[in-house]
Structure formats: C-alpha cells, structure tokens
Amino acid sequence: MKNIVAVIKPFKVDEVKDALASINVNGMTISEVKGFGRQKGHKEVYRGAEYQTDFVPKVELRICVDDSQAQAVVETIVETAKTGKIGDGKIFILPVEEVVRIRTGETGVSAL
C-alpha cells in the first residue's frame, strides 16, 4: 500500500477529487497548509510597512491506495492539478506499514 501525499493549488481540489473518483478512488484526507518551493510569495503593505509573505496557501491531499493503483493516482493528479505555472506543487509517495478500519477492525487492503 502506498500513501500518496500531494501538495496542490487550493482551487484545484475539486477537480482532482472528481478526477480521482472517476478512477475509483473514493477516499482521501485534505488539510490546508502553507508552503513554498520555487514560487515566491509576494510583497504586501500594512500601515506603511512593507513585508514579504513567503508561505503560499496550498492544500495537501493524502490518499492511501493499493500498490497497483498508485501509478494511476499519481498520473491523474499530475494531469488535473497542473496549470503549467510555478507553484503547481509536488507529490510524495510513501510506503504504508499498516491500515486499520476503525469501525470493523479490518486491516490491510480490505481496510482501504
């Protein structure tokens, strides 16, 4: 099983969610985060003092899938979340040791 962590632009969330639903990925967790890579923040002014915002709002999706689905998930996210401009985000693929469904106690792939 793989945990796919994708940091994407916030306005892409619904598009990505729908695209993943169409390849039968029906569960995920999102969190609102801030971050930067090559995308710089921008300058703002508050009561006459200028400051630089480095961190840019992003959304992080975490999707846990069976190994066989991982590639499709990554490709779908890349396709839908891309705008071509700096700041599109990154995807990290992490191995998962165990998954447990809380309601039933199932483990492994049947818990996904």
Partner: protein, 467 residues
C-alpha cells in the same frame, strides 16, 4: 332612540358655549408651556446623543480588536469593557466634581462628587448632563488602550483607567468646559474654542497614549536591530472597518450633541462632521496610494477617524467648506504621523497617538483658523495655549502615572506572556476556541528584537516610500 341626535346636539352646544368665553392663546400666555417643551426636547436630544457616544465604545473595541492579533482579542475586550465600566464609577465618584464642580481658582472643581448635585425630586438636568459627560470621559480613557495593546498588564491598565477618568481628564476638562455646569475654567475664560473636544477628549487620550506607548516600549519583533519596521498584522480588517463605521455613527452624537440643546444649530454640526470624516478618508487613501503604490485600508480607516477628530473642535463655528479642508488636512497628516512614530520606534498598533493626539491638536488650531467670525492673532494664541497646556498636563501626569505603576507593579507583561498571548496569560481565555489562530506566515518569526526597555534613537527605518 329618535331623541338621541337632539340630546347630542344640546350637549355639544352647551360645551361650545362654555368654551366660547376663552381667548386665543398667544406665545406670551403659553411661554411656560413652550419652554417646557423645549426643555423636554433638550433632555431627549442630549440623552439620545449620550447613547450614540456610548456606542462608540463598541467602535473602539472593534477597531482595536481588528488591528491586533487574535491571541490578544479577549484582553482587548476586557480593557474596553473596563475602561468604560470603571471609568463610569470613577467619573461618578470623583471626576465629574473635579470637572464641573464650583471652581474658585479656575483650575479645579470642588463640588458635585458622587452626583451630590442631584436631590430626589429636584432638577434632573444634572443627571442628563452627567450622562452625556461620562460617555465623553470614557471616550478619552479608551483611546489609550489601542496604543498600549498586546503588551500591557491588565491590572496596570485598570489602575491607569481609574486615574485618567478621576483626575487627568476632568481637571483639564474643567479648564475648558467647567462653566457648562457649576464650574469655570481659566482656559475657557480666555476664549478657548473646543466645542466637542478635539483637545479636551481626543488630545488628552492621544497624549496619555503617547506616554504609555513610550514607557511600554514596542511589541516584540516590531522593530529590528537594522532599523526596519516589521508589520504585525491585525487579525480582522472587517472588524476594524466595522469599528470605524460605528465610531463615525457615534460621532453624530459626539459633535451635534454637544449643544445639549435641541436647536437648529445641530444641522450644520452634522454636516461638518460628515464632510470632515469623508474628506479625511479620501485624502488618507490618496496619500497612502501615492506612498505605497496601492490604496491601503489601515491608513484609509485611520483617515476617516482623523477627519472626525479634526472637526470636533470647530464643528459649530466653521463652514461646511472649511470642514472639507479640515478633514482633508487631518487625513494627510495622520498618514505622515503614523509613519513618523514608527520611524522613532514608538509602537502604536492602532494609530491612536496620530489620530487623536496629533489630529486633535490640528483640529483645535483649525477651529481658530477657520472660525466663521474671522480669525486673529489673539484667537490663535489662545488655541495654541490650550493645545500646549493639554500636552504639558496630560503627557506630564500620564507619564508620571505610568512610571509609578511600572515601578510598583510593572506596566508590561513578560516576553513569554507576550508571545503566548494575553488571552491565555492574563485572562485564561481564548477568543476563538473553534478556530486555529496560529499565524506563522507573516514576516515576524518571534524571538523578539532584543531588550524592549532600551530607548531607541530615532532611526530611519526601511519603510515603503515611493515619493
């Protein structure tokens, strides 16, 4: 049944015959009744305006909350609640007497403590007048909480607020306004013009705020060792804007209400008040636009308030066209003043010193310059004397007061308490328990910029200046 019309007609005829002997009423015969109606109208007008000015407390609370961080919002609410509540008690017990009591010297009132002028069954005008005056006293007191926000010990603030409404505000007030009731003041005796309190209320608040902010020192992280100014963002600009609108509304009680009489004079005062506020907002926006490249909301909001403070002294003796000029100058002045105080490293989170102190002084000058009856060297010198007397008295006494408080109990919270937030440390509370209020993406990364008790020399900070 058929007799009823006849009976009715006879009754009506006899009643008319009884009235036929009365004369037509005249103004002279009705003088007392007319005077009574006017008196009742005066009461209603004064008390309605007292409510409007009271509501300015909500305005101040919202402005201060909006321009400061969420972790201190409970503390801001407590300070604003208390400077009105404690101020009311303190003004009732001591302040009103010092301000409006019989004054043999022209420097201080000596009667009327605990509202002793009022007797049950006696003339209730003293109550209406007191009600109107207490909300003015509370306005002066609450100005200071903004400049001292985010780092002041709550107990220290309570002591300050009791003292300012008991002594500092009323004694100066007695010099300028004592004769509005039982007192008399040396300043008003010279012809000092300050109709609704650009100096008496706003400059008193502003200079006390200056003393407090200076002794407190800046918030951690506000000024860096290399001289730049790091903005500490307000957590809710809509609240700040709401506060300004509420203050604007309340000012329609502050200025026109100062007639304490329901007369036609209030119309021009209303118009002057509104024009000055609008002009202040527009000019502040324009100046901020020119200096920073974009119209900035914080400065524009301060500009509206600056215009209001600026017109407060002369609202009854200048023309509407003059009000536009007065407000415009105030709006431009406040922007440069805010930048100036940052340059000399006096941290004022909401611009209270600039809006109320500096523009209060401008408003007092303007009342002399634009006086409808014409200006003169005498008028201007009296205005200047008043402005100076206010600064010396208020800044002097407030500075001493804050120094004493600092020596006895400490004026400022510890750096750890300041970083954690006063809501938790002073009040055990949380203004927004349902929300995460961590903001780690602004320029300030915590840790402080060295000793906050150091007196910093005037420094040319790295401010945005595209002029």
């Amino acid at each position: 049944m058929k007799y009823i019309p006849m009976i009715l007609i006879s009754i009506i005829c006899s009643l008319s015959a009884a009235w036929a002997g009365d004369e037509t009423p005249t103004v002279l015969t009705n003088k007392d009744a007319i005077g009574l109606v006017q008196s009742h109208a005066d009461y209603v007008w004064t008390l309605v305006c007292a409510v409007l000015v009271f509501f300015m407390q909500a305005g101040f609370a919202m402005v201060e909350a909006g321009f400061t961080r969420a972790k201190n919002a409970v503390n801001i609410m407590m300070k604003n609640l208390m400077d009105f509540s404690m101020g009311t008690i303190s003004f009732w017990a001591i302040g009103f007497g010092l301000m409006f009591g019989v004054s043999k010297t022209g420097f201080i009132g000596t009667t009327g403590f605990f509202l002793s002028d009022f007797e049950l069954g006696g003339d209730p005008w003293v109550l209406a007048f007191w009600m109107f005056q207490v909300v003015f006293a509370a306005t002066a007191a609450t100005i200071v909480s903004g400049a001292m926000a985010e780092r002041t010990k709550f107990t220290a603030y309570l002591i300050y607020t009791a003292c300012v409404t008991a002594f500092i505000y009323p004694i100066f007030g007695s010099w300028a306004w004592g004769s509005l009731f039982n007192g008399s003041g040396w300043l008003e005796g010279m012809g000092f013009i300050d109709f609704a309190g650009s100096t008496v209320v706003h400059s008193v608040g502003g200079w006390a705020a200056l003393a407090g902010a200076m002794i407190l020192g800046p918030r951690l992280g506000k000024y860096t060792k290399d001289g730049s100014v790091k903005p500490i963002l307000g957590h809710n600009i809509p609240l700040a804007a709401l506060g300004v609108f509420i203050l604007w509304v309340g000012w329609f009680g502050f200025n026109p209400g100062s007639t304490t009489a329901a007369t036609k004079d209030i119309a021009m005062i209303f118009v002057n008040t509104n024009l000055a506020a609008a002009a202040g907002a527009v000019l502040a926006m324009i100046v901020s636009w020119m200096k920073f490249g974009k119209p900035e909301v914080g400065m524009s909001l301060n500009g509206a308030l600056a215009g209001l403070v600026g017109i407060t002294a002369g609202c009854a003796n200048v023309t509407p066209a003059s009000a536009v000029i007065i407000g415009s100058v105030a709006g431009m002045l406040v922007v440069f003043s805010v930048l100036f105080f940052d340059k000399i490293r006096i941290d004022d989170p909401v611009g209270a010193i600039s809006v109320h102190g500096v523009c209060g002084a401008w408003g007092t000058l303007a009342a002399g310059i634009f006086n409808i009856g014409g200006t003169s060297l005498k008028i201007m010198s009296v205005q200047c004397i008043g402005i100076l007397a206010c600064f010396v008295w208020t800044f002097g006494t407030a500075y001493v007061l804050f120094k004493v408080i600092d020596a006895v109990m400490g004026l400022r919270v510890s750096p750890e308490e300041e970083l954690e937030g006063l809501d938790a440390t002073e009040h055990g509370g949380n203004a927004y328990p349902d929300f995460s209020t961590i903001n780690h993406a602004s320029g300030y990364t915590g840790g402080g910029s060295g000793s906050f008790k150091e007196t910093s020399p005037a420094y040319t900070g790295k401010l945005v200046d595209q002029s």
